[in-house]
Assembly symmetry: C2
């Protein structure tokens, strides 16, 4: 099953030519999700030909503008495109009031429902689930209530091993096995245990999105073994005091967390506009986590 991430923006709050504020598109199975939605996100989605009509849910980390100001326009465009299917909007408390006030005052009536899910930003709990994914909150430590998200695909079925299947099974029997059931002994035929003819299901793949946060070592436990970790890296470590003051992380800290959590891949983002050249951030992280990558606009990652 597809489990793909597209980076739409790598910048932090100060607008920078050629960089865009935080937004990521996630595709799992045939469903699309949006993770944060900075100003201009709908143009990025156009640029990468994302199919907006397949959008199921939007996950907002916190109410700083560079993480959600694109949501106003995106909702309007979904309406103009004729959307009628409800859209789930997951985020910190207050997001619903901002959106509904804007619509009330401007006389906007969307043709689709918004289903708000208010996240307790201090808890690690399931906040969304559908047939493709389960999403849990990850408590961030920022200047305003802020949450990360852990996206886990739904458990996959064990795979039947054709070479172990006896000849002569009926379609009904194969169906039973495919659904994970044993075949009982019947009319002199011996039974067949599902476990004997299948390989264990691979562990569900997981993507952890750690938005704006003070370096928080305890997060490692919550994202342990994730296939892909995105972690903000606003500053170089020589600005760690400024990072702590503004509740952000450095590239070295992001890499330390990835190392401690034993994740598969690390993506760095949310770069301060002061860094015209991002190579020093990358090299700093790679000294701790050798395969660290920059989450630059357009990067596509297969989770």
């Amino acid at each position: 099953m597809t489990f793909e991430l597209r980076i739409l923006g790598s910048a932090s709050a100060t607008p920078t030519l050629g960089r865009h504020p935080t937004a990521q598109a996630l595709t799992v199975g045939g469903a699309h999700y949006l993770v944060d939605c900075g100003e201009g996100t709908q143009w990025r989605l156009l640029e990468y030909r994302s199919r907006l009509n397949q959008l199921r849910a939007v996950f907002i980390s916190h109410l700083h503008g560079d993480h959600f100001f694109g949501l106003f326009g995106l909702l309007g465009s979904l309406h103009l495109q004729g959307r009628t299917r409800a859209l789930v909007i997951v985020g910190p408390p207050g997001l619903d009031e901002v959106l509904t006030t804007q619509m009330r005052v401007s006389g906007t009536k969307l043709a689709f429902a918004m289903e708000f899910v208010a996240v307790d930003t201090e808890a690690h709990a399931v906040v969304y689930e559908d047939v493709h994914i389960t999403v849990s909150s990850l408590p961030m430590r920022h200047r305003v209530p802020c949450t990360g998200y852990l996206f886990a695909e739904q458990p996959r079925r064990p795979r039947l091993l054709k070479e172990r299947l006896p000849a002569g099974l009926s379609a009904a029997q194969l169906g039973q096995l495919a659904q994970g059931h044993d075949l009982p002994a019947d009319a002199g035929q011996p039974g067949l245990r599902h476990a004997d003819v299948s390989a264990p299901a691979p562990a569900p793949r997981r993507y952890a999105f750690c938005s704006d946060t003070l370096y928080t070592p305890a997060l490692a436990e919550l994202v342990r073994g994730a296939d892909v970790l995105y972690h903000e890296a606003t500053f170089l470590d020589n600005m760690h005091a400024r990072a702590a003051q503004t509740h952000h992380s450095t590239a070295r800290q992001a890499a330390q967390l990835a190392h401690d959590a034993g994740v598969g891949r690390l993506l760095l983002g949310h770069f301060s506009s002061r860094y015209k050249d991002l190579e020093p951030l990358l090299l700093e992280a790679r000294a701790v986590f050798p395969t660290a990558e920059l989450a630059l606009e357009g990067l596509m990652v297969s989770v």
Copy 2:
């Protein structure tokens, strides 16, 4: 004195790659103003190196997203840049509530004051004035309360004609004349009438911004003789029924208004995303107003 207009966006509501929603930067003297502020406007201002710290006032025509969703981010960026000087925000009633709700809920405290001016969108009245310009509202007819704006520079002083000034005038006497006063007869010297030694001041230059509106012939009276008229031209005239239904204008109608009002220049904008090629809109307008122009991104117009 400088009186320049920079077009930042030419699109209507549906996002289109390579086009941007409505926004225009106006420079009069050393002061900067913004006219509408669609999503992404702050990146356009970066692109054209506009000096945001000189921004005095923002004029919003109506509360459809493609005309003001960029304001949220712009205000945040002004704050990040350290602005402390108050910013005047002129627009339809309700704009203040949208902005203040967003800031309250997100815990944002700007370091500068927002001075809201609520426009009566059915009146033609002065809504803003400073040492450079006087701005009047122009009633538009749209699906929601909507106003255009007429920007007029402050009256200029009559120009002294050096060749008509007698020799031997003192600095004090020249100062009197420069300020428009007559010199009285004094100590056997004859008096000097200001009108005899000056040329009349040129008429104040005017820029009329007609945002989203049903074609409204009565507008011609309000913008008569403007140096530059911007008028929306969302559709070609073969879609005049659709234009009327959505309270928009066609290119032919925009040109008719420019012709009837006897303006100097006509700029067309707010093009429907259905028109990949804008030439037909231009040609249709030029059949009525031969010097019509497309208000494309980046166009700079000296008023």
